[in-house]
């Protein structure tokens, strides 16, 4: 079983949850039925939750896409869940702190850009899918060859972490922002 986790509250300012349900449906159409998705977080919008459940039902995915329906501390997650893949949404190639914190915790971390207008300019990598077809392909690759993909993802995640570190130019810029030279 391939365990895909989404750590997020189910609230209406998030607009990429349906993408994951659709990806699971696309995989099922390719006879890939071992990918399970777990949404980990409180239900802040009942309306959104109901719509997601309706779509899951329409796609006949009820056994494979589930909700914890509440926030759960990482330490309290099942080992099988912790050992899964944690997917984060990007904007193009931009990833926020949640993704880098996931990598910092040593989790297998995947990234997906749900913004269609940015898909062609998003540079893909072994753990980053630039659009829906790439996401489906990435999950299919993991399903077909998990061991190999885990190595590629681990290497890619480390490279992404390095991008967040401050180089000497970055430090100089930040210093100039904190203590501007014209300040006196």
């Amino acid at each position: 079983m391939i365990q895909i986790n989404v750590v997020a509250r189910i609230s209406e300012d998030k607009n990429a949850f349906f993408d994951l349900i659709f990806a699971a449906h696309q995989l099922a159409n390719q006879d890939i039925n071992d990918v399970h998705i777990l949404f980990i977080g409180d239900i802040l919008s009942e309306a959104l939750h109901r719509s997601m459940v309706k779509l899951i039902d329409l796609f006949d995915l009820a056994g494979r896409v589930k909700f914890t329906e509440k926030s759960i501390r990482f330490a309290d997650l099942d080992e099988e869940v912790k050992d899964g893949y944690f997917i984060n949404f990007t904007i193009g190639n931009f990833m926020g702190f949640s993704g880098i914190e996931s990598i910092n915790m040593g989790l297998k971390t995947l990234f997906y850009n749900p913004v269609k207008t940015l898909s062609t300019q998003t540079v893909p990598s072994p753990s980053l899918a630039r659009d829906m077809p790439s996401l489906v392909a990435l999950l299919a690759r993991i399903s077909n060859n998990q061991g190999e993909m885990d190595k590629l993802i681990a290497t890619d995640n480390l490279k992404m972490k390095a991008d967040f570190l401050l180089m000497s130019d970055d430090k100089a810029f930040l210093k100039s922002v904190l203590i501007p030279t014209q300040s006196n």
């Binding site: 914190e101 967040f164 401050l166 930040l174 904190l178 300040s183």
Partner: protein
């Protein structure tokens, strides 16, 4: 010792707050004292304890008058900080950092400083019809700087606000100073 002011509206366990933490951490590494000012929110939140541990002062107050306040301690604190930041901010702080353009309505008129930096931490897609709700007048002062954390934001701001932007805009990456 140099001192800077970082202003926001929450200290939850979330991305904007993580940016405050990393900025404060970097400041500490560079011998710069930080005060964190949280506006219009008197709750105790995740990073309050973290900053206390780091020796960083967190002030919770409002810069929008005192009419909505009932607690005398909060009223006195608001009067003090409103005067301090409107009249003497340049004297106390080398720079002022407002986290989130969504916080400008609550803060920009209450803080007079020659080095104001507005950290932009959202993208247009997070708003209905991908349109930012920010007042264009907030970008009118050439002394201010908007700091974007990704290049898409720069494009989005220029496309939506165009000539209304008179302040400086720069892009800087999200960073980890604490690892």
């Amino acid at each position: 010792m140099n001192e800077v002011l970082i202003v926001s509206d929450h200290l939850l366990m979330a991305g904007a707050e993580k940016l405050i933490y990393e900025l404060a951490y970097f400041a500490g590494q560079n011998n710069t004292k930080v005060t964190v000012l949280i506006v219009n929110n008197y709750n105790t939140e995740y990073y309050d304890a973290v900053f206390k541990e780091m020796g960083i002062k967190v002030v919770r107050t409002t810069l929008l008058g005192t009419k909505k306040l009932r607690n005398p301690v909060n009223i006195n604190r608001a009067i003090y900080w409103q005067q301090r930041l409107k009249r003497f901010a340049n004297k106390y702080y080398k720079s002022v950092h407002i986290i989130g353009l969504y916080n400008l309505d609550k803060t920009i008129h209450g803080i007079k400083h020659k080095n104001r930096f507005f950290w932009h931490v959202n993208n247009a897609i997070q708003y209905p019809q991908s349109i930012y709700p920010f007042n264009p007048a907030h970008f009118a002062d050439p002394n201010d700087t908007v700091l974007c954390i990704n290049p898409y934001q720069l494009t989005e701001l220029n496309e939506q606000y165009g000539d209304a932007i008179k302040c400086k805009i720069e892009v800087f990456k999200l960073f980890l100073a604490s690892v």
